[in-house]
Subunit: 197 residues, 2 copies
């Protein structure tokens, strides 16, 4: 699940250090020096490769998106229905690892940069499209394999994306998680009513 | 819809100035001096009343939440179904006024402060609960009046809140709005399948 586990180059080592530093410190507190602390080689190498914090973070986001495009992690599931359930579960399980939560929290912070920074906006526009079309492809496969009804895959995909993004947003920015069980139950009811055969 | 239209005190005038400055400049760029530019009286009055930008913004958010609690804007609708449709429409209409969009954008920025600032987190936890219980009350009324099925109001409320929050997040942080029509159609299909009689 962590695309930085086996870095293939110095560049990937730097991106991994940026990911770890971002998860630890959050966006606002992050500096290139803090990224350097997560990096085994000289921090001057980071300055050599990247123009600054945002340049590096955008490269890190792009790298993660490319890895996701190559390996969307849904191959591990036994079929389209299991894949949809798995994607939802990954978001809705309140006992998700703290590291992962911290990273999602940081994604919200990075999304909050979009009003001022068109590079971030361009990235999130692109990554939203990738996730959406990936979800639509799973729905399409489920229809072909007879697990799902003959729905419009794009519509189901956007519903899931919007719902899961809303869960992320509320979950990481409030102290409350009592609502999560209701959200999960109602999502299942929606999938039963609209998608599953 | 704007709770700052008829300020009843200097304090409310300051909160209105903070709201306007926040909508214009966004969170990161905002200073007390910029709020002063939106304020008819001396900016020193702002420093007299508030300890800083965050103290003032939190007071502004609390004031808006109190106004919303007193007048949730759904009285204007002819019944529970019209109220649910109205709330969804306000979020899903891509031609919403630019001011309102800018304010929502800013709310995402303020939510992004929650990892570092427990006062913001406390506020959003509280405001999420207020909106959720308000939505649940509408659903409950609709069940009583025979417009809705005998669903669990809390579950429907959380689904709507999560969905609308997800729409906000994606809409204001990406350049894309083609997905909006699909989101709207699928939300209607969900409401038809699960809520409306």
């Amino acid at each position: 699940m962590n695309p930085f586990e086996e870095p293939a180059s110095t560049r990937e080592e730097i991106l991994g250090a940026a990911y770890r530093a971002l998860s630890t410190h959050g966006y606002a507190e992050l500096t290139i020096d803090k990224i350097g602390e997560e990096f085994d080689k000289s921090a001057s190498l980071i300055y050599h490769h990247y123009d600054g914090k945002d340049d590096l973070l955008l490269a890190c986001l792009d790298f993660m998106l490319d890895r996701y495009k190559r390996d969307p992690l849904t191959e591990e599931y036994s079929g389209p229905r299991a894949a949809i359930e798995g994607v939802c579960e990954r978001v809705l399980l309140a006992d998700a690892s703290t590291d992962h939560q911290q990273f999602i929290r940081t994604l919200i912070e990075l999304r909050a940069q979009t009003p001022h920074d068109s590079d971030y906006r361009e990235h999130f526009t692109r990554s939203d499209r990738v996730f959406r079309s990936h979800l639509a492809a799973i729905v399409e496969a489920g229809i072909e394999q007879g697990e799902f009804r003959a729905v419009d895959p794009d519509r189901t995909a956007v519903m899931l994306q919007v719902f899961l993004s809303g869960v992320f947003l509320i979950y990481v920015t409030s102290d409350d998680d009592e609502w999560m069980a209701d959200a999960r139950a109602e999502l299942e009811a929606y999938l039963d009513a609209r998608l599953y055969v």
